[in-house]
């Protein structure tokens, strides 16, 4: 992609010492996000997808966590910035929306005033002007009668409207990068569709990059251009949407794709991934997926597979050769087709 690189994460490690041992939340992660790109991060709970972004935003308590690596945002290492410098970037050039729009707005204050506060945080402009901008923003994210709704309290908003208000707040300083952490998980499907459409629209209108964190492969397949699959703190597959969904390389990605009941297919027996995700205190040696992987062989429990292109055209972290993967994936596909018919 020739577009400007906004965020580049290099070999990021984040771990939290606890009385029970060290939790390795993120273990050697590298990726980059470009302007006008929606970068989807998928993984199950505890795969490190949220911690990665909280670290990038400086929202991880650095006294409690061990962080190493680099997070370059427009060329500057966010991890090396002081709190003061970081505050000038965060909310201005780098904005975030969270999963639960019920918890993110203060219940005592009017929605409009909360957006004004966000605006005045970084811009020294008269309050009147800030209010006008807040109203415009509410209108831009599709809230009807923004002039009136500006004066409402959060409880007068529905879930979808609150998420829209959060997006308005995030956009208040024309950020370059928007990080959306499970933005639609708490919402109903019809509202989810509205919010996903909105995020896609503002990405183009405001010419920004978006990191979309989700556990829902369907959401990623719908809106993301690039997809990174995470498992136990590591990236196991990274590629364009077409590459990852048409030609998945990692057994974990296969398992995820196969275990989802689809609405456009008749119910056949689901193929679950055996076992459960590992504890991040005792991450299995070698490939962290090997205890659950039906295709494991000799090196899997010893060597950590690097995230590299093994001939498929996009990087993955699995020891199997690209020929073996193609063979196994075709076999699994045939099995699945047989089960459906």
């Amino acid at each position: 992609m020739s577009a400007e690189t906004l965020l580049e994460v290099r070999d990021l490690h984040v771990s939290f010492p606890t009385p029970d041992g060290v939790v390795k939340a993120v273990d050697g992660l590298s990726f980059s996000v470009h302007r006008r790109e929606t970068f989807g991060i998928v993984g199950e709970s505890g795969s490190g997808k949220s911690v990665t972004n909280l670290t990038a935003l400086g929202l991880i308590d650095r006294e409690r966590a061990q962080v190493s690596g680099e997070v370059l945002f427009k060329g500057r290492d966010l991890l090396a910035l002081s709190k003061e410098e970081l505050r000038r970037v965060r909310g201005k050039e780098l904005a975030m929306i969270f999963q639960d729009p019920f918890a993110c707005l203060h219940p005592f204050y009017r929605v409009g005033d909360q957006i004004v506060e966000a605006i005045l945080c970084h811009d020294d402009i008269p309050k009147k002007q800030a209010q006008q901008r807040a109203v415009d923003l509410l209108g831009a994210v599709g809230i009807p009668h923004p002039q009136d709704r500006f004066r409402d309290h959060p409880h007068q908003y529905s879930g979808g409207m609150r998420q829209r208000a959060m997006i308005a707040m995030a956009l208040s300083h024309n950020p370059d990068l928007l990080i959306a952490d499970e933005p639609t998980t708490a919402l109903d499907v019809t509202v989810q569709a509205q919010i996903l459409d909105l995020i896609d629209r503002i990405k183009n209108e405001f010419n920004i990059g978006v990191i979309l964190i989700t556990h829902d492969l369907g959401v990623v397949a719908d809106v993301a251009q690039t997809v990174m699959v995470m498992y136990a703190g590591r990236a196991v597959e990274l590629g364009s949407r077409d590459e990852v969904f048409d030609n998945p390389q990692h057994p974990y990605a296969w398992g995820l794709l196969e275990s989802i009941p689809r609405i456009d297919q008749k119910g056949s027996r689901l193929i679950p991934i055996q076992g459960s995700p590992p504890s991040l205190i005792h991450v299995p040696p070698g490939c962290s997926f090997h205890p659950r992987c039906p295709h494991r062989f000799e090196p899997c429990d010893k060597d950590v597979p690097a995230l590299a292109d093994r001939g498929s055209g996009h990087p993955d972290a699995c020891h199997l050769s690209v020929e073996d993967k193609r063979r196994i994936w075709n076999e699994r596909e045939a099995l699945r087709k047989k089960a459906v018919s």
Partner: protein, 359 residues
């Protein structure tokens, strides 16, 4: 009991046997009161409104809808965990609407529930043995409880040696297995599953869905399966009822509902689900405008009319909408054989709502 049996409304075509559960005109209002001593009712939440359906033995009925559509309230009414405002509930042909607690108790063995949140539905201060053994103690069954519990644990895929462990020692998926074992303990006929996999990761979700299917075959269970996830419901349900604002708006066989939805709301709901890769680019989403109206003051006529693209396409005298949509609730009528939809202008076969909206 001289009560007449339930009328054969919305029966499953699969069996002609007597339905295991039937509800007729089930309605539940929750009062909103003002004042502390003299609690004056100022408004009502219309949680469930005139719901009628039957479930045949061995069948899985899926109840889908968005939050606040009344699907969980319906489940609670079905199990008599809530008293209905109106309507009747039949279990194996017997009217159980007005049974009191003690007369309900023997029936409770036959109907069990699996809850959504495996963290909140298990007592953290009890061991697995106590949790799964509780139904045996309450109903004072014969025989050794421990052995029965361990058999159950084995059956749902838990290690029976973990009998003395507490629920916090298990993962989310394993906890849900504990919930399943508890529901299964007394060999019920009916299990109401209220969002049983919503709190689980996808890889674990598939394990639990497979388990529920295996148990259904083995123990001839009947499920009422509630979920907001349309993929999950299609996978597990034989027949599906779609709810909107407390009413059932469409009922049909699962495949038929997904391939040929009749109600505009069903069609919009299905199109809103991210399809994943492949046809995603081809099938255009129908983005509904606005939000679900408040159940305190539901719109007159068809509750969906303010958001309905089909009504707008048909057009009419009332704000561009047809008069009957805004004035009268359409009955849940048979549009095709065994396919009912509560709509004045049901979608024709293959009719795309997108086209309707732009016509």
């Amino acid at each position: 009991m001289t009560q007449p049996g339930p009328s054969p409304l919305v029966t499953s075509p699969k069996t002609t046997a007597e339905p295991l559960v039937a509800v007729e005109g089930l309605t539940k209002y929750f009062p909103i009161t003002k004042g502390i001593v003299l609690q004056k009712e100022v408004a009502r939440v219309h949680a469930v409104e005139d719901v009628t359906f039957t479930v045949s033995p061995g069948e899985t009925l899926g109840l889908v809808g968005e939050s606040g559509c009344g699907k969980s309230t319906t489940a609670r009414l079905l199990l008599k965990l809530l008293e209905p405002t109106r309507g009747r509930i039949f279990f194996e042909g017997e009217d159980i609407t007005n049974l009191n607690r003690s007369r309900m108790r023997p029936l409770r063995r036959e109907m069990q529930m699996i809850f959504q949140d495996p963290y909140a539905s298990l007592n953290p201060r009890q061991t697995v043995g106590q949790i799964v053994g509780a139904p045996f103690r309450i109903h004072k069954t014969e025989g050794e409880t421990k052995k029965k519990v361990q058999e159950l644990m084995n059956r749902v895929g838990l290690n029976p040696e973990h009998y003395n462990r507490y629920s916090h020692e298990f993962s989310g998926g394993q906890r849900q297995r504990i919930g399943v074992a508890r529901a299964l303990a007394l060999r019920p006929k009916l299990i109401v599953c209220d969002e049983p996999v919503s709190a689980l990761d996808v890889s674990i979700q598939a394990q639990i869905l497979n388990l529920l299917e295996d148990l259904q075959d083995e123990f001839k269970l009947t499920y009422v399966f509630i979920s907001h996830d349309l993929g999950v419901v299609r996978h597990i349900a034989d027949r599906i009822a779609v709810m909107y604002l407390g009413r059932i708006v469409e009922v049909a066989q699962a495949d038929e509902l997904y391939e040929d939805p009749k109600h505009p709301y069903t069609s919009a709901l299905l199109s809103a689900v991210p399809k994943g890769h492949g046809d995603a680019a081809l099938t255009q989403r129908i983005v509904l405008e606005g939000d679900v109206p408040s159940p305190i003051d539901p719109p007159p006529g068809c509750p969906f009319h303010p958001r309905c693209p089909k009504a707008r396409a048909v057009g009419g005298p009332v704000d561009g909408l047809p008069e009957n949509c805004t004035a009268e609730m359409p009955p849940l009528g048979e549009v095709e054989r065994n396919h009912r939809a509560a709509c004045w202008y049901p979608l024709k076969h293959g009719e795309s709502l997108q086209k309707a909206a732009h016509a």
